[in-house]
Amino acid sequence: MSIQETNQLLRFTTAGSVDDGKSTLIGRLLYDSKSIFEDQIEAVKTSSEKKGFDYVDLSLLTDGLKSEREQGITIDVAYRYFATPKRKFIIADTPGHIQYTRNMVTGASTANLAIILIDARKGLLEQTFRHSFIASLLKIPHVIVCVNKMDLVDYDEEVYQKIIKSYKDFASKMEIKDIHFVPISALNGDNVVDRSTNMKWYEGPTLLYLLENVHIASDFNHIDCRFPVQMVIRPHTHEHQDFRGYAGRIEGGIFKPGDEVKVLPTGFTSKIKSIELDGKPIEEAFSPMSVTMTLEDELDISRGDMLVRPNNMPSVSQDINVMICWMSTKPLAGRTKLLLKHTTQECQVMVKEILYRVNVNTLHREEGVEQIGMNDIARISIRSSKPLFFDSYRKNRQTGSIILIDPNTNETVAAGMVI
């Protein structure tokens, strides 16, 4: 088998609490796709018995840390893996309560797809809004809304239709490109992997079919060429005396040898001499490939610089507006100095102003707030100590995202999306 012959990778996120049946759903996907091993099932059976349950608690498969097992809740983001003959999947399994918004944002940052669970008996809840808002804020390209526990409403089509209608009404206010709906019972496996015989009225695909077939090839930006230089490779060996390669990951567009490129911030232009990895030439490089590029001219280029096409420039500015999710227990006030990381750049920033906070349950803007607390979503303006080369997050999730770091504690205190 060659490296190209293998399947595509889909990263998805699930948010929810034990009550939604989230862990049961993940357990079901892993179990029905035969991704759970016998010794794992044995361990879960033993734990379930120890706790006095008369059923095998599949949520024990996903709750890994000691404190989580003791409390029966998911605290952190846990990553799970399974594969079918069609695709390989990475699940970012996150807790759903409001105090874990930051974990949901973390899981959503790398996801192509989000699964949102709605309990058929309860309909849309506050947390449905919250999870959907986060998916929209983090620009997850695809959303699958699973109306779960259909077995508990007698597989009634009317209940399902009512829920998806109210969801559509509310989702129209958000930016979600691609939404699908599936009625399921995670506990019994209806429409998860296998088609349900209990819901003949539903003619759409199963959840797994959607996961396997949703079109993800266009999730990366292949239009606007962006190559942030990660490091410079200079071997200084006899055979490669003059080799000067720029290593990094393509974060947008398609680069080819011969293309004219412009270097930011210097503004010099040159042509791509070669694109390679491990000494093997690459004809076309696109996101998310890691490559090494050489240029026709010897230019002064270092980490943090960006190669772009001269006729397609990112924004270059020291003043940016971002939506942030605050992740630290220590609140953010205006006029605070922090460190910023953006692509391969790092610099100091000053938080100039907190413009407003978003109520994640109602989506209302709250203006005039002086502090931003943990798990708050807010729009702020910042000024950086040097120019940043960025796109809006809507246009490019890689060149439009930042993290903020507290210079005293070194903790990551915020995730930010450039507006």
Partner: protein, 301 residues
């Protein structure tokens, strides 16, 4: 027309190379923890690709328990020569001789837990501020919550409840004096991905991974190789079995599986149908439900 998307192995490779390059860019003295197992061999291969035509700009560190398979050591020395990298060996025997740790006794004695002390001492001696390892999140439940960049305090400890959030591909390697990072570039790979990658790249492996004849003893369902480090209990007997290894740890704790798979195609077919996890053969993980989490907190890989 060209298809502008990567296969899952290409995407995982690109991600791992990005992380390895990020380590070299963000840290002063990184190193690769090399166990001689397939995951760290893949890591060495990815490192070579990441910096080509330069040499790998960091040393390999091997924590030698003294209980290694001889095949592992021979393979290690060959690879180091081929890559032209520096090899640092931390010796558990030396930690024992220096009185820093005490050897476990009894029939199930192992040096697995002792490694942590030797590892932390070695990192300190060489002032390593980022130690890359081949651990994967699919291996064990505590590892499912591990970050790519995993912060360790000045005692080398992991605090799972106080981990930094990790967003997009923006990795925060900031630290105070005396602290260090463990970095896991192949976090998102599964056992199957590793095998498929080894096959697609034609990566050489120690012979242990392929089916061979070996004198073994079966203990608590685990097939252990006959060696000076495994003491027979009463009623136990040596059997000659056709086995191979799925992981490559110390001789006294790494179980073999009975297998006829003597090439990569057969191994991949076996991995695809096997119904137990690869660490299911590891006696060190069977010391309690949270054995791995507890060891990780104190500074294990």
């Amino acid at each position: 027309m060209t298809q502008y998307y990567l296969s899952h192995l290409e995407e995982l490779e690109a991600e791992a190379i990005f992380v390895i390059r990020e380590v070299v860019s963000q840290f002063e003295k990184p190193a690769l923890l090399f166990s001689g197992g397939k995951d760290s061999i893949v890591l060495a291969h990815l490192s070579r690709k990441a910096f080509y035509p330069s040499r790998i700009p960091f040393p390999l560190i091997h924590i030698d328990t003294g209980h290694n398979f001889p095949e592992t050591i021979a393979f290690r020395d060959e690879l180091v020569k081929e890559l032209g990298v520096q090899l640092i060996v931390g010796s558990v025997q030396k930690s024992i001789d220096d009185g820093k740790v005490r050897e476990e006794t009894g029939a199930n004695a192992s040096r697995n837990a002792l490694q942590t002390v030797t590892l932390l001492d070695t990192l300190e001696e060489y002032k390593i501020d980022a130690a890359m390892g081949g651990a994967r999140r699919d291996e064990e439940k505590a590892r499912a919550k591990e970050r790519f960049f995993s912060h360790r305090d000045e005692f080398g400890q992991w605090d799972p409840k106080n981990q930094r959030p990790e967003l997009w591909n923006l990795f925060n390697g900031k630290k105070h004096m005396g602290e260090h990072f463990r970095v896991f570039p192949i976090s998102n790979w599964t056992e199957m991905d590793v095998w498929q990658y080894i096959q697609s790249q034609d990566i050489a492996l120690p012979s242990l991974y392929f089916s061979h004849q070996r004198d073994c003893v079966v203990r608590d369902g685990v097939i252990l190789a006959k060696s000076d480090f495994v003491q027979l209990k009463p009623n136990e007997e040596i059997k000659n079995l056709t086995v191979r290894y799925r992981t490559c740890g110390d001789m006294p704790i790494t179980g073999a599986v009975e297998s006829e798979a003597d090439d990569l195609d057969k191994i991949i077919a076996e991995v695809a149908t096997t119904r137990t996890t690869e660490r299911g053969t590891r006696a060190d993980d069977k010391r309690g439900e949270t054995a791995m989490e507890d060891r990780k907190k104190s500074g294990y890989f």
